[in-house]
């Protein structure tokens, strides 16, 4: 059972739709009580860094996430902004992040992009696997995933990088530290690759 955190932002339904089709059970947690005893946690994300973090604080999710993820080592995946809030801080906002993976979120450097379009990084881009992990098993690296973002996660430790993607320069598009996973792209909108990844997460 996957527990999808509903903190006001994020396209939860699109992720749920895929798990429905895969016949993988999930629940949408709209209150912290519903997260207790979770086996897998999903942090969706569309929106801004500070707004997402303050929603987690305001709704009381923060505390239960810390407990389940840090103490109980429940596997968690954050997508897009859900990944970025795993960092310690972000240039997009002023609030501290969850700090589950060491690093900070930075704006994509426009000056490194030699041609238009520049920002946001929008569309299908390939990934290059940096470290073998079940999460990316069976994924077609060249076909890649759908991206839509302006900020990216800069890991403090390269060993936390699962895959990289090039846009101006190479950045971490999938990360992992112990039980914590983050992906910058949108698996819920990435056809078979996305379905494969979501299925992989369910079997971790």
């Amino acid at each position: 059972m996957i527990t999808i955190i509903n903190y006001g932002s994020g396209n939860i339904r699109a992720i749920g739709n895929i798990y429905d089709r895969l016949n993988i059970s999930y629940k949408i947690a709209s209150s912290p009580q519903e997260v207790h005893g979770a086996q897998k946690i999903f942090l969706p994300g569309v929106g801004a860094f500070d707004e997402t973090i303050s929603m987690l604080d305001k709704t009381g999710f923060r505390e239960v996430l810390d407990k389940e993820i840090i103490q109980n080592k429940v596997p968690v995946i954050g997508i897009c902004v859900g990944m970025q809030i795993l960092a310690e801080s972000s240039e997009e906002g002023s609030l501290p992040g969850l700090g589950y993976i060491k690093g900070r979120v930075k704006k994509i450097d426009e000056t490194l992009l030699k041609q238009k379009p520049k920002l946001p990084h929008l569309g299908w881009n390939s990934i290059q696997i940096a470290r073998v992990n079940t999460l990316l098993d069976g994924v077609d690296e060249e076909f890649g995933f759908y991206f839509l973002h302006t900020y990216y996660f800069e890991c403090e430790n390269d060993s936390d990088i699962l895959a990289t993607t090039n846009y101006g320069k190479s950045f971490a598009s999938a990360i992992n530290h112990e039980n914590v996973y983050g992906i910058q792209f949108h698996p819920e909108k990435s056809h078979n690759n996305g379905v494969t990844l979501l299925k992989n997460f369910a079997t971790l």
């Binding site: 699109a14 238009k116 759908y146 909108k189």
Partner: protein, 255 residues
């Protein structure tokens, strides 16, 4: 490498899919959900669905339809039509759409873009501009309400505003080339490309894959949207949904 996007653009009229010519003479081409199912199988890059009745009828988006579409879509889905408020935009994103498109509301009240951006993330906000050339030297003007109302706003001036706001994507739709399948009028798109660096999608005129190839080769990374190209087949415009297969696209992206 980031790839260009080849995007079917579907128009909704009276709950069915239609295709127009120069924004008129709409021809029924099928059921939206059925079309999405076919586009899923073809693994299309993205899908854009525009409700062309909403603004004209002065009503908001049909959330039931959006919900049904979003459930089916396995590709990024952009909805546009009748969006005027932050609440509507939020609801559309929460129903599972990736992007929400505005046209009339953005032109008459650009401030709404920032407000919507604050709620759903500015990268998810798309602006669709229906444009037409004004005289020989008049530049390009933006139209609303299905191309029937001249907003009086010049494309050049409006792009400055959009650059300041920093939206996620700009769609330029050439009214006079709509449905004609005679190829893109690159003058309009060059004009817009030169004035902004945000992701751009061109719409209006694609009639065959060569037109798509031409656009990608010209802009390198671009969104190429089309309606007729992906719903009609042959000289007599029989309705048949098609989309270049993976191998064909691979070649297109590498130009």
């Amino acid at each position: 490498m980031l790839r260009s996007r080849i995007t079917p653009c579907l128009l909704v009229h009276k709950k069915g899919l239609v295709k127009t010519v120069a924004f008129k003479d709409s021809k029924y081409v099928g059921d939206p959900i059925n079309a999405v199912k076919i586009f899923n199988e073809k693994e299309v890059d993205e899908l854009m669905v525009l409700d062309i009745d909403a603004t004209k009828e002065g009503r908001g988006p049909d959330f039931e339809m959006i919900r049904n579409l979003a459930v089916e879509c396995r590709m990024p889905f952009c909805y546009g039509g009748g969006v005027t408020t932050v609440e509507q935009a939020k609801k559309i994103i929460n129903l599972g759409a990736e992007k929400v498109a505005l046209s009339a509301a953005a032109i008459y009240n650009p401030g709404i873009l920032k407000e919507i951006g604050n709620a759903v993330g500015i990268q998810s906000v798309v602006v669709v501009l229906d444009v037409k050339k004004k005289g020989l030297l008049g530049g390009y003007e933006i139209y609303t309400h299905n191309g029937q109302k001249n907003s009086g706003v010049k494309l050049k001036d409006f792009l400055i505003i959009l650059n300041e706001i920093g939206i996620g994507e700009l769609v330029i739709n050439s009214i006079e080339d709509d449905g004609k399948m005679q190829g893109f009028d690159f003058k309009i798109f060059d004009f817009a490309r030169n004035l902004t660096s945000m992701p751009m999608t061109i719409l209006g005129g694609a009639g065959n894959i060569e037109h798509v190839r031409e656009a990608i080769s010209r802009f390198k990374i671009i969104g190429v949207a089309a309606g007729s190209l992906f719903v009609f087949k042959g000289k007599y415009k029989a309705v048949l949904i098609s989309y270049p297969d993976k191998e064909e696209r691979k070649k297109l992206y590498q130009i």
